[in-house]
């Protein structure tokens, strides 16, 4: 208790010594205020604590009357001057007038190569989008429709926004890894996909300002002050405001609420994206949830004939080299509880990977039969060079290699395009491996 008094003594000068402990406790938050202000502030706070009716305008005014944090003429002299190299490292932003663009260039065909390698796993080869990732091309002429398709070509007003965003934040999970020339090339390819340039186009810092986006004139400043604020202000009806009231829409009709019985079944028809399509409408893209294929793990018998299995074993000696332990465990069948735990962990992966019946390659390869398979061998999936090489060098996904990869993908396999930070807990890794093992092939 005396500790409070000691702390307060210097701030409150001589008067502190005559204060009661109760006052000290009430006052400890406002020691930096001059005495008169302090008293009124405490009074206001007390008024709030004991108020019976709604707070009055006066109490509000008192609370807001607190003086602002003081400025000092000439500043506080804190911090230090930023060095030019430091500013250059962080100041990478681009404006519509091209301010900030580095020297460089890239053409449509180079752009296609880079895009297919680094962007297509989420956005699709032609910007058409995979799953619920953003669609980048098409949609022109849809902005007035019920379900507008907002893409770079149909919606974005400035090309600088594309360049800036790709450069600062893409690829997802590997930001700022693209060279300026690669960004010019990707941007050129995106213009081509949107029919804004021809296939022989080259974008450079010099030609940048010449490109005009189709929807450049599609925006206006916030006009709520004119169109809404007055219309929505004034007296409000309190009595007899309507004769009849009928329910016109019910959420239960298409219940997509998490945890509701109906919700899980109907999700497919009503998937929306929080910022893209925040209205109830049939999904044109498949919901992420579908990526978790079914509740039951696929029975091993069903999957035994899958082509991938043959391929993995034919490809070789490597597959046979998988530890005996893994084989034994697989034949015995993993612990059901562990599989269930693994299914929960798999939610972290389900945005990119599918398992079970009809599993398809998404932004990641389908994972049926992954345990025991040579790395980089799922038909039709475009792997990173790093993963293909690892497979060619004999990497097989067994318990040990999966554990290493899943703990820290990019450290284990430098160059993988799997943008996942890794599973921190060994338990999660064991569980998910059991779950994947239960998926058969």
């Amino acid at each position: 208790m005396s500790k409070f008094l000691k702390i307060l003594a210097p701030a409150s000068a001589g008067t502190a010594s005559v204060l009661t402990l109760a006052y000290v406790l009430a006052d400890q938050f406002v020691v930096d205020m001059p005495a008169p202000a302090r008293v009124s502030f405490v009074a206001a706070a007390n008024a709030q604590e004991t108020e019976a009716p709604a707070p009055t305008a006066e109490t509000v005014a008192q609370a807001n009357a607190e003086p602002p944090a003081p400025a000092r003429d000439g500043g506080y002299g804190l911090g230090r001057e930023a060095l030019p190299e430091e500013i250059a490292a962080w100041d990478i932003d681009i404006r519509p007038d091209g301010q900030g663009l580095p020297v460089g260039s890239g053409d449509v065909w180079t752009g296609e190569e880079v895009f297919v390698e680094k962007c297509a796993s989420c956005h699709g080869d032609f910007g058409e989008a995979v799953g619920r990732w953003p669609q980048l091309a098409g949609g022109q002429g849809t902005l007035e429709r019920k379900d507008p398709v907002k893409t770079i070509g149909s919606y974005w007003p400035y090309l600088s926004t594309v360049w800036d965003y790709v450069h600062r934040a893409m690829p997802f999970g590997d930001a700022q890894s693209l060279t300026p020339d690669e960004v010019y090339a990707i941007t050129a390819y995106l213009l081509y996909l949107n029919n804004i340039v021809e296939d022989d186009f080259e974008l450079s810092n010099e030609s940048f300002a010449e490109v005009e986006m189709p929807n450049a004139e599609g925006f206006k400043p916030d006009d709520r002050p004119e169109t809404e604020l007055t219309a929505f202000s004034g007296e409000a009806c309190m009595e007899g405001c309507k004769d009849e009231v009928e329910i016109t829409m019910r959420a239960a009709v298409l219940d997509v609420t998490p945890g509701s019985d109906e919700g899980d079944a109907d999700v497919e028809d009503t998937a929306i994206e929080v910022e893209e399509q925040a209205a109830a409408q049939p999904a044109d893209a498949e919901p992420a949830e579908e990526a978790v294929a079914g509740d039951q793990p696929t029975a091993p018998e069903d999957a035994a004939v899958a082509g991938e299995a043959d391929k993995a074993s034919v490809e070789g000696a490597d597959a046979e080299a998988a530890p005996a332990e893994a084989v034994v465990e697989a034949s015995a069948g993993p612990d059901p509880e562990l599989v269930a735990a693994g299914e929960r962990v798999f939610k972290k992966c389900a945005a990119c990977h599918q398992v079970g019946d009809n599993a398809k390659n998404r932004s990641g390869p389908q994972l049926n039969g992954i345990v025991g398979r040579t790395a980089g061998t799922v038909e039709g999936f475009r792997y990173s060079g790093a993963l293909e090489e690892a497979g060619a060098d004999g990497l097989v996904w067994d318990h040990e290699s999966l554990a290493g990869f899943l703990a820290d993908p990019r450290a284990y396999l430098k160059g993988t395009k799997m943008s996942f930070a890794g599973l921190r807990s060994d338990e999660d890794i064991t569980a998910i491996t059991a779950f994947l093992e239960a998926q058969g092939e």
């Binding site: 807001n64 804190l78 007038d97 926004t161 600062r168 709520r224 929080v274």
Partner: protein, 433 residues
């Protein structure tokens, strides 16, 4: 400590550990436990075991002071958590979760329940390796360490932060059953921070410096353009929320506070502020956070959050658990343009309205709490709240908004919410004529 095996069965139903308690369980439990009937006291048929039997916590010792060095809620509150909607986004890294408004009271959101919206996951920033740079149209570009920031004078302010997309899923009609999902992209905490004005003055804004562009240190390097007037007015560079360090998911070690304006502008993990003479038109102010009208033209720079309210109890996740009689209706209201002097409530879908009772501190651009106590007659209800703000603005209906904006705006849906409560006390998200 030993614990009688039958104890779990004897705890009151509301103490369910089930993360998603079924409302049927609630109701039968409440009645079985002898809950209030018709608001008049009833005689007990038999002695209440909660009283007559010795409970373990009455008999045995609990944890010591060294058991919970950072306290967490009771085990019986385990269902009070942020929740996400899996199908909403492509993956959980660039996604959003929702504040459980129906489980909260008062005006302050606990730090662990503040909704999250990230564009590249939660950046785990080492504060000793964090810097805040101010550059661009300033006399002296500066770099601050966290220690430097702590040496500027601070202010304490309570503000709501609402995502512009809050209620965005409801433009085309009632869709999600629960105010956590329809209105939970909001939180309200007390910030401690340095006025942005002091930092800008330290660097010296040139006369042609009309805009600032704050930038985050996460892998999305989030940027927004903010006019200098707002920056010099009430923005804070905050490092504390509700008295403790910002949570990592809220921008630890330092974030921008832009009172009353859409949440996306409150840059987390704030590492740089550039001063310029025009806006940057970056992704989050062109491709996103622009409001498409039904004529194909989009509004841009719709920064302020319009006045809005919602009844949090009863609501779909918080049904009425008793039968007729005294009933507490409560909710929250807020406005990006001032305070909330008044909220009206209707029980009949808008035929007749009643002024609700405001309770708790009324701060500028902060959440406000309202109550309306009434005797429920056990018949169906159509509940709505309608807030007024200190500028005289009255919350419009969803159809009022649709008449002006159409259904494709996504953002800034502040229309009046309706809950239909049936005879069993269950509530559903509906719209009415």
């Amino acid at each position: 400590m030993s614990r009688p095996a039958d104890m779990d069965d004897k705890r009151t139903p509301s103490m369910s550990k089930d993360p998603a308690p079924s409302r049927r369980g609630f109701l039968t439990g409440a009645l079985a436990a002898g809950g209030a009937i018709a608001g008049s006291r009833v005689a007990a048929q038999s002695p209440d075991p909660a009283i007559t039997e010795l409970q373990p916590w009455m008999q045995y010792l609990g944890d010591g002071v060294d058991a919970r060095p950072y306290g967490t809620p009771s085990q019986y509150e385990a269902h009070v958590i942020r929740r996400n909607v899996e199908w909403l986004t492509a993956d959980p890294v660039s996604s959003v979760n929702f504040t459980p408004l129906h489980e909260l009271d008062g005006i302050i959101t606990p730090n662990g329940l503040c909704f999250e919206r990230h564009h590249a996951g939660i950046a785990e920033v080492d504060p000793t390796a964090h810097r805040l740079m101010i550059n661009g149209l300033v006399d002296k570009p500066l770099v601050f360490t966290m220690q430097d920031l702590m040496r500027f004078p601070r202010e304490n302010r309570v503000y709501f932060l609402e995502c512009a997309a809050n209620s965005g899923m409801e433009w085309a009609g009632a869709q999600l059953n629960g105010c956590q999902y329809t209105h939970g992209m909001i939180h309200n905490v007390m910030y401690t921070g340095v006025p942005l004005r002091l930092l800008l003055e330290e660097a010296g804004v040139k006369t042609n410096g009309k805009w600032i562009m704050p930038e985050g240190a996460d892998a999305s390097a989030m940027t927004r353009s903010i006019p200098i007037e707002k920056a010099m007015d009430d923005c804070l560079v905050a490092f504390k929320m509700n008295g403790e360090a910002l949570r990592p998911e809220q921008g630890y070690p330092v974030r921008l506070v832009v009172p009353g304006w859409e949440g996306n502008m409150w840059i987390k993990w704030l590492r740089r502020i550039e001063v310029g003479d025009q806006p940057w038109h970056h992704r989050e102010e062109t491709s996103k956070y622009t409001d498409l009208l039904d004529n194909g033209i989009a509004r841009r720079f719709t920064w302020e959050m319009d006045a809005k309210s919602v009844i949090t109890n009863p609501s779909p996740q918080a049904p009425i658990l008793h039968s007729k009689g005294p009933t507490v209706l409560t909710g929250v209201a807020w406005s990006g343009r001032g305070t909330i002097p008044r909220v009206d409530v209707t029980l009949d879908g808008g035929k007749n309205w009643h002024e609700a009772r405001m309770s708790g501190p009324s701060f500028d651009k902060s959440m406000h709490r309202f109550y309306f106590e009434f005797d429920w007659d056990g018949k169906p209800l159509l509940l709505q709240s309608r807030t007024h703000d200190s500028t005289g603005y009255v919350q419009p209906t969803k159809n009022d908004l649709r008449a002006i904006r159409g259904e494709n705006s996504i953002y800034h849906n502040n229309g009046i919410q309706t809950w239909h409560v049936n005879e069993r006390g269950e509530a559903e998200n509906v719209e009415v004529s």
